[in-house]
Symmetry: D2
Subunit: 345 residues, 4 copies
């Protein structure tokens, strides 16, 4: 059955699998000390225009968030995040298990606003009891957010300015970074590198079997970060698995090609919904689309196409999620169009 | 160059890669809810003769140790382990980062002795200050150990008895379990399942790209272990990657076939050393062999074969490690024989 | 200068000091194994009508909250609390440092509402992603709250009912318990014991030099709680210091007498404000009163009486806090009346 | 009955109690911001000849060790300590609960030897796997040790030199510091301050009701240490309780007077044993003495004097502990002499 449930329903981009096979019998040292990792790091440094970047390959997103946050923050510091941020909701308390509070702020469509962060920080620093409170040590944002939205260049610059003024680090969760960049009119990978203190390039949801590339853009990795990664159980013995995948993703811009394709498919879904008068819960420019369907519409799609029920609105309608990926062929969205039209018209 | 540095220098067993390719476009839900994981679990349950077993697939060994130990122990408990145990030395303090002390005991060739555990527990429980101390909550052993040695059935039974008498759990780190079982005259997978409270079947070092299968043999997983796995950053989004690998490893006994082959190659190295009068540091029956070489011998091998320097003896000689795996062809050990003879005779 | 800044500005109630002197040369074992602790526990059990209660004496409030929460919750659980709850704001992340998330809910005047808790729990349990989230394991409330307000018997019963329905523990932070009970028309210490799974009787802010008595009312202390207390650095070597204080506080109802006196003084302040048309920020029935003063009023009091500026309202006026304690003589509130009248009229 | 079971069997030195009474009604701010703490810190700075020292008052020893170690170490570092060190044995895993491994080394009569530390550090830094291991970040020693022994000036200098060479901090647990200094021929408080990076002056076991004064001798407290103390539940609301006690202890050298008196009493016990041919388990120059008694001797003392059984020797004899304190009158040791002579001769 046609499925748009998420962007990790298939295996890996075929070029990655091919590369795994081609390199399979090459002997390489473990723990990321291999030539594939080295090559992948070089390519990522170039793609980021960050020649001094420290780069580490971890396996998954929650793990990466917990490891980076724990390594960057002091014991008495927490991470400022939107209430809807992944670390605040869907990581089973991994950040707290590492000893750090997630300092939640209200966001808008998944995004933190610079002025809200600033207002929070001013209030904190004016509070005579602040020494009894968790110090805000970093701002955590997702790009794109959990709702598929992206920050504009100006918005990122404003958040950066607030971070600088108050001495906070800026950490960008890029689990779906490619899709965000493909959708952005004014931000490239080199901007993400220039504007953040640390970020990661998501592989799992952009064509890889697994893997997230953590980038400290100015050679600013915390001391012995390798050991911290190990301590968090995030060091892969066969680091080659990550090196080969990222080397492939950053050869001939495959990462960006995958991302552009998926976003193009998502825009086709968006247009489809617009043409049918189906409202969107959030105006997402990336690979996740959130059509609002009523119960009869959801029923009409049963058995024809798979998607996710994201949440239920007070009026009983459903926010659904349709996600695209490298594996979504143009034929798939065309077929979706046929299904929607035959079901709803 | 010929290399015996470790058992994770190549990628994955070809059947695993083939299976990844064959299944690549099948859509499957994430986080281990897919059909491959389900099938793999069924096969493992059968192989363990443990029809009620709870099985979880994690990514790597340190992660698995930290997650299992944290889930099984109470806050005030620690894990009894040999001073040479992997969790005691080479996991960067992952267990302590989770809040638990590793209670180190002297071992013998990497193995804990039941009588030492018992003596420690008797002393602990007789200590009037014990309520000020970390309670021993589990015994952690590796099978095979970090020195390639294995427990006999009687030894395991004795440890089990001590655990039962004092109310401790028994956790078996099976990062290289296949090699241990292939070498054991009296223990099979079903015995490991019957004698432990929790253990894992190592994939990373036995032919997979990554992956460890945690088995709670009698359906005795701690409540919400899935969430604990997530909290530890050990839940893979594309769980299929683990399911497919373990399903392949447990189809037609591939796991055991890989293990037997690697042990056979290791025995050839052992015989080779014996024939040349090269002493072994430890009498290992598994896929890791530890020849003791002097400096001139090490030099003579330079540029011809890769291996690891394990440690330096007081007399200046080197304990070396030669490891075999699924990727070690019989031709490789024959070639090693020629190199040894031409270099040392 | 007259001071109402908080309820811990003086040392201890004179009877406590007298008792410390009288018992000073009596030799007693350490760590709470002494006769004073034993006697104090007996008296508290009687006062709670909880003959099977497990009782432990800890030193301070933040410590007690962190220790109890860590001992009671599983690793994957968090504590539901009002956004204004002490553990959520003013404990420097102690709960998170122990690995647990504080699951913040909006409150009203510092109080959680049963219906808000229930709605949160229903939403949580209906969420298909709940296994990726922190499980709510307990409800934490303060009695009285950080704003001096108290729960009615009906409100507590409703929260208890919700806890029972969803299998959560109820933990009552009683740092100022005495004042709350003195102000309550329908709740006594025995009700607190009957309705909670664990609570503590605050000593520090109710006449003692330090000390909080943790009560598990039905002998339901977690296993080896003594060791958990030690692990949290919360076990006092000279446990007698806590035993003697609580034994004194629970002799001849001193704890309640102190509380009633302080609340009576606070009501005099409340009446004073009412008579002068000074609005209160919150209608607190306990020993903390929150008059809203404008800048000229605050200035007029400078150098005459000490109090705390609690927060600044959007209109520029100040929420102030006047706290009373065992050490607040009737003459002090009379003098405050003279100062207020001469300053404001 | 005459008792020498430990040095915290009585309350506090009478001058401390007197001071608590005299100051009881003085109003003071909480959390250590009071005049008593300020005055005590000044006196301690003078006594340490460390005018820039940062000083914090915590409540108990385990708490202090856990808080200081957590604040000083990076996440990937552990604390080197003797296997018999208090943090390694009798603190219920408080250091591990904070995420740090105790890196145990064999000691001699409770003392670490500089050469053993150096050898361990050389081995660690030569280990090619060291990035997979816990980094040694500090050396923890007790002065005096858990066996009552003390380091000589030369021994301390050697340890300091090793710490400097390898970049480790030196932390001295001074739970019984006064007794160690009273017994030392060549070390004063100013030497402890000059040679360590952080240490604490134990109050609980040297005449106070509770309290440990943490000293960072060169103004080198970690940033926001106050908040870290709060996070560890180690910040006393009525900080005055600690300030008043330490101010008293450091007025007219009371701390040293108490220590000298207790050591003098202990030397009388030592002489008594020597005169009776009773062997000592360890040659302790401080307030704890460890006579080795056989079963009949222990029996003979039953009902006449209280002491601790420290451990049982392989030959069945008992290591006992007799501790003295400020509360041990010369008459008490005279009486002990009479009891020993009448029981043993």
């Amino acid at each position: 059955m046609l499925s748009f449930t998420c962007d990790y329903t298939e295996g890996a981009h075929p070029l990655i699998l091919k590369r795994l096979i081609d390199t399979n019998m090459i002997q390489a040292p473990g723990y990321g000390e291999d030539e594939f990792c080295r090559s992948a790091k070089d390519k990522i440094r170039r793609a980021c225009a960050a020649p001094d970047a420290d780069i580490f390959f971890l396996v998954g997103g929650t793990q990466t968030n917990a490891t980076v946050i724990d390594a960057v923050l002091a014991r008495y510091e927490g991470a400022v995040a939107a209430h809807t941020g992944h670390i605040a909701v869907h990581e089973a308390g991994a950040v707290e298990a590492g000893g750090h509070k997630v300092l939640g702020l209200p966001g808008e469509a998944g995004k933190l606003r610079a002025e809200d962060i600033e207002s929070y920080l001013r209030t904190f620093h004016a509070d005579p009891s602040k020494d009894h409170m968790v110090f805000p040590g970093m701002v955590y944002i997702s790009f794109p957010t959990e709702y598929g939205t992206i920050y504009s260049r100006d918005e990122l610059l404003s958040i950066r300015r607030v971070c600088d003024e108050f001495g906070l680090k800026l950490f960008i969760d890029g689990a779906r970074l490619g899709y965000g960049l493909a959708a952005s009119p004014d931000l490239g990978l080199e901007d993400i590198a220039a504007l953040s203190d640390v970020f990661y390039i998501g592989g799992t949801k952009v064509g890889a079997l697994c893997g997230e590339a953590v980038v400290f853009p100015r050679g600013n990795a915390p001391g012995h970060f390798f050991t911290t990664v190990k301590q968090h159980g995030a060091l892969l013995a066969k680091g080659r698995l990550l090196g080969i995948q990222f080397d492939t993703l950053f050869t001939d811009s495959l990462y960006f090609e995958i991302s552009r394709g998926a976003v193009a498919r998502a825009m086709e879904i968006k247009s489809l919904c617009a043409s049918l008068g189906i409202p969107m819960y959030i105006d997402s420019p990336t690979n996740q689309q959130f059509p609002v369907l009523d119960a009869s519409q959801v029923n009409a799609l049963q058995g024809k196409v798979d998607f996710e029920i994201w949440e239920t609105l007070p009026d009983g309608r459903f926010v659904t999620r349709f996600a695209t990926s490298w594996a979504t062929a143009p034929e798939a969205t065309e077929e979706l169009g046929r299904i929607f039209r035959s079901s709803f018209l």
